[in-house]
Symmetry: C2
Subunit: 457 residues, 2 copies
């Protein structure tokens, strides 16, 4: 079944409000929900990914009982912020030794080559000077200076992660999303990103999670070979390649890269067209050519009237902040085609709340570009958005993807590489087919079952 | 004679406009002017301290001929931005080897202790990864990632600094201000701040400047012992301790710390109450107690109605952004007392244009706090400001400081440590005396000369 991705505060106003939406106007559409971080404060500098207390629910959003209520009858996905802890947290104040320092990785010092080898999507080095536990330390800070990386091999840090896993499992959470998991283990002389040592840690953490009845979703924004490799170690990985490929297909009519990716991608994925982060472009490297990626970025900019923001790293665009509806030029048929491709590709489709509501870009204020696609909806605005025809149709398609028996069957990709693109699901007599003519982007989706045939075009 | 500190764009609108003010309403007051950076772009990310081309005048401000015209009949002070160059500059593109990298200082690597020893008024490490000259480099960036530190020992970098010195001398500039000079030389295993190796470089640069007829002013914001040490190597250093001491004296009536500082400070100073940077608090450490510094910071905040901004570093307040007039609660008599203390202390007094005009704090926009005290004046606003009584009186006092013969004589500090504070200048029959009763902050300034006696109280 399809899952929703949402902030409780921005879509529903609270955990209870989010549940009311899922049980009310969205009933029957979503089998699960990834609730973005609800730990206090949900509105910190990194919008919840810098909690002060990973073991608590922000009281402005509700309680652990509300999480448990949300988890009854649906799969809740929750973040395990495994890489770092806020420097305002009690954990940092009370247990400074559970955090990683430069000298723990480089006891004999680091050379320029050692430091240049470290993977980081920012220009500086991931180190911050601070006094903690009565002495000056050079903390390892992969993200901001206020997000201090755990030493995941330190017994206290490992116990802290175990406590969070048990708390989540105890409330009925079904899947933990390992946020930024690629950065968790640092080994001198390596890229410090998804190395064999990282996978050994992921295996250990995943085994513990599974023992508690949790499944494990890995978040890896990087060249797709990393996600392919990670897929063997966890229950699911995000397919972040799909979104740029879908956009490329819809923008150009060239389905070749999408076909190639469908043949090589791992099976155990969560698929997304949009998330709380930007549209990942770094993930498409090697499937799309650099010029094709630049063309997608430019087309998104043109389609959105210049309101999208591309975040660049040396070598190209890392991600583009833009709503999926604006990226597709607010063209209902193009948007539905993109969503159909998303929904028909194997995996667990997740739909971001702003995309579900065909939301528009928020103005870029110069702060975090990702806020462009993190709109805060009032109840009235949700009602209004749901009345848009494109949203009503999308919601029907999501319900079909979640409930039509064909999707419990076998998937096949049509084998005519130059002609029509055909994505087909068959389960006995039940079928669901998406046919796209790459040349003129005409499409038709047909759902056949005991109740007859439904066609969208 | 007293000198003015001003941005040409914010006070006069251009180099010519600044000259018109000095020759017009300000005639006779200032013997010199420190023109803040006029290199292109004067309005970059660091308000001129990140030039693209240190050998050019921003055409929006004028030409080198305008600099030369300004320098006729008065001492022009210009910045030599000796520590770094913008990463947008031709110098960085064309000559990447003249910039400092991690491996040039630490060819065998650096330990955590090496890195923790580096002095820097920011939390991270001063390194930025960039591709330059066809290879990945770990650049040394003391300030922002876009201000790349020179390797001042590299012949190309040294030649670049020599070219700038010759250009400034060739236009009649009389003094170069060595911006951020404490950070220029990095030596492994040291604080990399005003080490013996730094002083060796300063000696070399100062000798070259003097050979060109330039005097040398060092800017050092740090514990005052550094400025005292630097004073032996250059023509003048800023006395940044004076401003917090003057404020402490006026706020509390306690003249003890000011008396102690007057007894230990170097003779060859430039004195300031305000500059384009914040009021330096780090400089007063060791002369004022930490609690006294905090009390000054709090009083500035209260006096300014909460519009000042204190920038903190581990260990205390680094600087406070606030106009000097707001810091003194917009109390004309308190302000004139502070200015009289400033003007009577030995050294070359420099008066910042916003302070000269008794300017108010600009709203803090969340960007650079120092913009609070960097107001941009239109010609009309300058005229209006000059009509304020407190400004008219201040201008009279500045003219007296610049022209009264007493100040060419001997300075003496009254020797009654518990009674009246007396700062006295005597040159034959000419005298200038400032008497302050610390208890009730009553004050009287008396100027006696051939033309009779003038008294301010």
């Amino acid at each position: 079944m399809v899952q929703l991705i949402a902030y409780a505060d921005r879509f529903g106003g609270s955990l209870r409000g989010l549940r009311d939406l899922l049980d009310g106007p969205l009933a029957g559409a979503f089998g699960g929900v990834h609730v973005l971080p609800f730990y206090p404060p949900f509105d910190g500098a990194d919008a919840g990914f810098d909690p002060d207390d990973h073991l608590a629910v922000d009281p402005r959003l509700g309680t652990w009982d509300d999480v448990a209520a949300l988890a009854r009858g649906r799969d809740v996905v929750a973040d395990l912020i495994v890489n770092h802890v806020s420097d305002r947290s009690a954990a940092f104040r009370d247990e400074p030794d559970m955090f990683l320092t430069f000298d723990r990785v480089f006891p004999d010092g680091a050379t320029a080559d050692d430091l240049l080898a470290i993977t980081r999507p920012r220009p500086g080095l991931p180190f911050t000077r601070a006094t903690a536990g009565g002495r000056q330390r050079l903390l390892w800070t992969t993200f901001t200076p206020h997000q201090v990386d755990l030493d995941v091999h330190h017994p206290t840090a490992r116990a802290y992660l175990s406590r969070v896993l048990r708390r989540l499992a105890g409330c009925g959470v079904r899947m933990v999303r390992l946020d930024a998991v690629g950065y968790t283990v640092k080994t001198a002389g390596t890229s410090c990103f998804l190395t064999p040592e990282t996978f050994a840690f992921v295996d250990d953490l995943a085994a513990e999670a599974r023992g508690l009845g949790l499944r494990v979703l890995a978040e890896v924004h990087a060249h797709h070979r990393f996600a392919v490799e990670a897929a063997a170690h966890v229950d699911r990985v995000y397919d972040f390649v799909l979104a740029p490929l879908v956009l490329h297909t819809v923008f150009t009519g060239d389905a070749g890269p999408l076909r190639r990716w469908l043949a090589m991608r791992p099976a155990n994925t969560v698929t997304v067209l949009d998330t709380h982060d930007g549209l990942g472009m770094v993930d498409a490297a090697g499937v799309l050519a650099p010029a094709q990626i630049e063309a997608v970025v430019e087309r998104i900019s043109a389609n959105s009237g210049g309101t999208s923001v591309a975040s660049r790293v040396p070598g190209g665009v890392y991600q583009v902040s833009c709503t999926s509806f604006d990226a597709l030029g607010r063209d209902d048929r193009a948007y539905l085609l993109a969503r159909l491709l998303h929904l028909f590709v194997p995996g667990v489709p997740q739909v971001y709340y702003v995309g579900l509501l065909a939301g528009r870009n928020a103005p870029f204020t110069g702060a975090d570009a990702r806020e462009i696609n993190r709109r805060r909806y009032t109840a009235e605005e949700v009602d209004d958005a749901l009345r848009q025809p494109v949203v009503a149709t999308l919601l029907e398609l999501v319900r079909l993807r979640s409930t039509h028996p064909a999707f419990a069957g076998e998937f096949a990709l049509g084998d005519d590489p130059d002609g029509e693109l055909l994505l087909a699901w068959r389960n006995g007599a039940a079928t669901a087919e998406l046919r796209v003519d790459p040349a003129d982007r005409a499409w038709r989706a047909t759902f056949t079952g005991a109740a007859g045939t439904l066609t969208y075009r």
